[in-house]
């Protein structure tokens, strides 16, 4: 192989890489969806589901406005996902069935739903296609600092030192080996939602956003 040919190929790749770096979102895309979000498939592990409700947000930031406002009329259900994520593809059908909703995997979707005669504010947040506010909410509710998807967050209300405050839990991955079928995941989610609704009903009278 002639030296000039080798050098020409190096120049072509240098221009190609510089062009990709300067003119495309390749660097940012890889950073935000591969490096900053833990891939549970690469990890071959599922976070151990700890069904524990807490008041403190994961990064000590305030709850987002869309959550605070919606809590006046019902619990808030945030369903975080991304385009290329095998765990997300497992959880998606369970949630669609639970709320009888239909939307595309890459859509932004939100709906005020009725679940067993109670209001649930449902948000499907695909982190690859969402607004900054919703994107940032992922870090606010990443309770166990897993930084991985899928994640489901349910926000309700509870009494804390004299005030009624948002009270939430987040569950990750495919919810662990205990919930290995669609029906089990469905039942598990139903139980958490019912519990959250119960707390909301007990406390909403004293809530001010």
């Amino acid at each position: 192989m002639n030296k000039n040919i080798s050098i020409s190929i190096i120049i072509v790749f240098s221009i190609f890489l510089t062009g990709m770096f300067v003119y495309t979102d390749g660097y940012e895309d890889i950073k935000s969806s591969v490096v900053e979000v833990l891939c549970l498939s690469c990890l071959k592990l599922d976070p151990v589901t700890q069904l524990e409700y807490i008041f403190e947000t994961a990064n000590s930031n305030h709850h987002p406005d869309f959550v605070l406002n919606n809590l006046t009329s019902g619990i808030v259900f945030l369903h975080y996902s991304k385009d290329a994520c095998s765990g997300c593809d497992i959880i998606l059908p369970a949630i669609k069935e639970l709320f009888s909703v239909e939307y595309g995997k890459e859509d932004m979707f939100q709906k005020k739903l009725t679940f067993e005669e109670n209001t649930v504010h449902y948000y499907y947040i695909n982190t690859d296609h969402t607004t900054d506010e919703k994107q940032q909410s992922f870090k606010i509710y990443d309770k166990d600092h897993v930084e991985g998807l899928p994640m489901v967050t349910i926000i309700t209300l509870n009494y804390d030192h004299g005030t009624i405050k948002p009270y939430y839990t987040s569950i990750y991955g495919t919810f662990g080996s205990k919930y290995d079928t669609l029906q089990k995941r469905y039942d598990f989610l139903t139980d958490i939602i019912s519990e959250s609704i119960g707390l909301w009903e007990e406390n909403n009278a004293g809530y001010e956003p």
Binding site: M1, K3, I5, S6, I7, I9, I10, F13, S14, F16, L17, M20, T24, D25, G26, Y27, E28, D29, I30, K31, S32, S33, V34, V35, E36, L38, C39, L40, S41, C42, L43, K44, L45, D46, P47, V48, D83, A84, S86, D89, K105, E106, D144, V146, G173, T174, G176, S177, D180
Partner: protein, 281 residues
């Protein structure tokens, strides 16, 4: 400083720079070698992950290809490959460093007649094509058709992501449905690298499969001195081939896709008949 010590230092330094997350360094680059982004201290992305993402469920979901995820790692590996071929395997990759250590044991096995025979068996050369099948079949085709099968079972992910995570965060994670298959593959990986020097790099590594063809066009490569001198002076002692960690017949070397430019053959040749070339030949 001895040449192989310099190489060891380079490998060690690059291993450290691949693990800067504890200092807040997270980049959107891909490593030009094999290292898992699920490692708790990973600085960058494994090059295979964006490639898988680029075609993820392409057929099933009727999605379009994510071109930036496909082309960015190719641009990085392409530039480095065009400059120095597979030198990254010999000088930078942490999995190469690991196999440099296990290679000491593998070299002992090499003395047994069974391993000698296996190494020289004609089929051995064909086994090296498995890495290309892994790259196309496991990384691209299964991602496009079904999902992330390579990362689900990847032994490098198990070594650099799963094990450190289990050790650093006890009780926080439990096995996923692929954990046990991945564990078996990881054990086989360990057996392989202890039995055959650089066994993973020779036969299975998909990153090696991307880099290997660049040896044919790279500016820097290993070459023999001019033919006439070589024919006249070579003692046919085979010291070069015997020491080669990639099992190359160095006497016949001509831009071999398996060469990792470690320089061991250069050092060992009593007649100085092998050298680094910077594009002269």
């Amino acid at each position: 400083m001895k040449f192989q010590l310099k190489r060891l230092l380079a490998q060690f330094f690059i291993f450290l720079s691949a693990n800067l997350r504890p200092f807040g360094v997270k980049t959107g680059f891909c490593y030009p070698f094999f290292y898992c982004n699920a490692c708790p201290s990973a600085t960058s992305a494994c090059p295979l992950r964006p490639l898988e993402v680029s075609v993820y469920k392409f057929i099933q979901d009727d999605n379009s290809i994510k071109w930036t995820f496909l082309l960015f790692p190719i641009a990085i590996l392409g530039l480095i490959g065009a400059l120095s071929g597979r030198a990254i395997c010999g000088w930078a990759c942490p999995i190469g460093l690991l196999q440099r250590a296990t290679g000491k044991i593998a070299r002992k096995f090499k003395k047994y007649p069974l391993f000698k025979k296996m190494g020289k068996h004609p089929i051995e050369q064909y086994l090296r094509y498995i890495k290309y099948i892994n790259l196309i079949g496991l990384v691209f085709v299964t991602s496009a058709l079904i999902g992330f099968y390579f990362t689900d079972i990847c032994p490098i992910g198990f070594l650099t992501g799963t094990i450190p995570t289990l050790l650093l965060f006890p009780g926080k994670y439990g096995p996923s449905s692929y954990f046990w298959i991945a564990l078996v593959i990881f054990i086989l990986f360990l057996i392989l690298i202890f039995l055959i020097e650089r066994g993973w790099c020779r036969y299975f590594c998909p990153v090696g499969a991307i880099l290997a063809p660049f040896n044919k066009i790279s500016l820097m490569h290993i070459t023999r001195v001019p033919e006439e001198t070589f024919q006249k002076e070579c003692l046919h002692c085979n010291a070069c081939s015997n020491i080669c960690p990639m099992g190359i017949d160095v006497v016949k070397i001509n831009r071999d896709p398996e060469c990792i430019l470690c320089g061991k053959c250069i050092e060992v040749c009593p007649k100085n008949l092998i050298e680094y070339s910077r594009g002269q030949k």
